[in-house]
């Protein structure tokens, strides 16, 4: 009888130990699950936050393909925009006000670009670079870029009304558009890299934007862009002007819509 009691006690003890182990493991698993959920939420938030620094498609591509993004030559339409007289504004105004004006401006312009399937890929001081057809194939990239620029014009008018209401100086911008091949990819080193494009097309768009001051207009396009526009757009030829880095003077056009 005593032997049986001993067996019973040992078996009971084993069951208790086993149950304790199971409970402990389950608690541990629960903690791990919590940790995993927390980290998942953090990663998702990080992905959202990262979206402010690089186009969403690039982030998704990087997270889904072991961090690789093969560089490639692409035919894109490049839009360069800059605020005229901004440096002078910086010298005479309170920095916080300047930043607030600039943020509002970027917000309006980015919306106008996004509405026409473009991506603002770079901001440099008061200027920015927008690309059409760089990330997703876009057969209508030229029209989109020009329509985007015309929307920017309308959006700026609205924004200037708001600035005027706040007794702040109105802004005036210059936009240059050019189409051509660029090399697109992730550029930089391990510590600091970004999605970017390089090539002569970018330089030409930048030079064309610079010509808006000289020609006293707000929007200029090149021959390559003009050749792909239909008769919904009214273009006016401007005098050819020689720019830095180019041997032949560049022919540009102003654009309006019917």
């Amino acid at each position: 009888m005593a032997d049986y009691s001993l067996y019973f006690i040992v078996a009971l003890a084993l069951v208790v130990v086993l149950i304790t182990m199971v409970i402990r493991q389950r608690l541990k698993l629960k903690d791990l699950q919590k940790l995993l959920d927390h980290n998942t939420a953090r990663l998702e938030q990080l992905q959202v936050d990262f979206g402010r620094f690089a186009p969403q498609e690039i982030i998704e591509h990087l997270t889904e393909s072991d961090g690789e993004y093969a560089p490639s030559m692409r035919s894109v339409t490049v839009l360069f925009a800059d605020i005229k007289g901004f440096t002078k504004m910086c010298d005479t105004m309170d920095p916080a006000t300047v930043v607030s004006i600039l943020n509002g401006y970027f917000q309006c312009m980015s919306q106008a670009i996004a509405m026409h399937h473009g991506e603002v890929t770079e901001m440099m001081g008061d200027g920015f670079l927008a690309l059409f057809g760089a990330i997703k194939t876009n057969p209508w990239q030229v029209q989109d870029a020009v329509l985007g620029a015309l929307s920017m014009r309308t959006a700026l008018k609205e924004y200037n009304k708001k600035l005027k209401d706040r007794s702040l100086p109105e802004l005036s911008i210059g936009i240059g558009i050019h189409r051509g091949d660029v090399l697109a990819g992730i550029m930089g080193n391990y510590q600091l890299s970004k999605f970017g494009v390089v090539g002569d097309t970018i330089n030409v768009a930048s030079r064309v934007e610079g010509l808006t001051r000289q020609l006293e207009v707000d929007l200029l396009i090149t021959e390559e862009v003009k050749s792909q526009l239909d008769d919904r757009f009214i273009v006016k030829k401007m005098p050819a002007i020689k720019v830095k880095g180019k041997e032949v003077p560049i022919v540009t056009y102003t654009v309006d819509r019917e």
Binding site: K136, T137, P139, W140, Q143, Q228, D230, R232
Partner: protein
């Protein structure tokens, strides 16, 4: 991710429900309930018939769990709040745990799935997104992993079908089926799960053997999927589109051509060009229409519908619903409903063009 789709901005319905008792009875007989979207498509014959069979299609070749995963992944990829809720609820009723569903949704946890399942999910995402469309290499990878040609074809069909449903529902902004979603969590549903799952599976459309493919520019696409019985819905859909006279043939053709051009499908682009010549388009006017998204053969309403078509290829839910709502204010109800159907069908057929490469 699951949270983010539930929190997605989802517009008020863009098209109204149009009561049609006999139609609703047919739908109820099929599904046991009348999904909201069915009451909003009731005036377009071919579209409602396509949806009646296409809302839920049973896999006959590939494993059922992969078909279920494909449906969920696709609705997640297309950010369709309605379909996503239904797909999740259905998976729960089929017996998937909440944990398993979350695992499928969160890429970083995909290590728990095997190599075949992971490659399959990548293919689903890639085809649904089509930015760019999956290459032949991706299809070959599935074959190497042991899937048969027919199974890969069925996968592509299931994704194209789900893309079609996602688009129709999103463009109409059909309200999510909260009752069905909550039902999947109820005690009754948990108790009778096997019975409900059996009924849901048995009511899904399966088709009846391989089908005949009529002659026409899209015949090779249909031929490629003809081994999957349920894929007959695409044949019937294309026939329905061509027979309907709500929109002009020129607009319908250009809508297909715009999608083919945007998704860079050479085969579908060539097929559209052949059809364009058949209905009297000159080469120059056709090219110009595609370049400018305007065409003097279309009236102002159809011009707007054509311009909208390009927005239906890669979109974000909020902006596309807003854009469709704006379009609805100046467009005839039947024309908009049919355009929603044609754009959705074009997006699916052109995605299926991947099988021809």
């Amino acid at each position: 991710m699951p949270g983010s789709i539930y929190e997605l901005d989802w517009a008020e319905p863009i098209l109204p429900a149009v009561p049609d008792r006999p139609w609703e009875q047919r739908v109820k007989k099929q599904y046991g309930l009348v999904p909201d979207v069915m009451t909003r498509v009731s005036t377009c014959g071919w579209l409602r018939e396509m949806l009646l069979r296409g809302l839920s299609v049973s896999a006959t070749e590939m494993p059922k769990h992969l078909a279920d995963i494909g449906t969920l992944v696709c609705s997640q990829e297309n950010a369709c709040r309605y379909c996503y809720g239904v797909a999740r609820a259905q998976m729960k009723l089929f017996g998937y745990s909440e944990k398993m569903i979350n695992t499928i949704e969160q890429d970083m946890l995909m290590a728990e799935l095997d190599q075949k399942d992971r490659t399959f999910i990548r293919f689903c995402r890639s085809l649904a997104r089509s930015s760019p469309r999956p290459s032949k290499k991706e299809r070959d990878k599935l074959l190497k992993l042991g899937f048969s040609e027919l199974q890969v074809t069925e996968m592509a069909f299931q994704i194209a079908r789900e893309c079609f449903v996602n688009r129709v529902v999103t463009f109409i902004s059909s309200p999510p089926m909260h009752d069905f979603e909550q039902m999947s969590n109820s005690l009754m549903a948990k108790l009778f799960r096997p019975l409900i799952a059996y009924r849901l599976r048995s009511k899904s459309y399966k088709g009846k053997g391989s089908f005949q493919v009529p002659e026409g520019p899209f015949a090779p696409v249909l031929q490629a999927i003809s081994g999957v019985p349920a894929a007959v819905i695409f044949r019937d859909g294309l026939e329905g589109v061509s027979e309907s006279n709500v929109l002009s043939p020129e607009l319908k053709l250009l809508m297909f051509a715009v999608v083919a051009r945007s998704l860079n499908c050479q085969y579908c682009s060539d097929a559209c060009y052949t059809m364009a010549r058949d209905i009297g388009f000159g080469s120059e006017s056709y090219t110009q229409a595609l370049q400018t998204l305007t065409c003097d053969k279309l009236d102002s309403q159809e011009q707007r519908l054509l311009a909208w078509t390009r927005e239906t290829i890669h979109y974000q839910t909020g902006p596309i619903q807003q854009r469709t709502k704006e379009l609805a204010s100046g467009t005839d109800h039947d024309a908009l409903l049919e355009a929603i159907g044609v754009a959705s069908l074009a997006n699916s057929v052109v995605r299926l063009g991947v099988l021809l490469e």
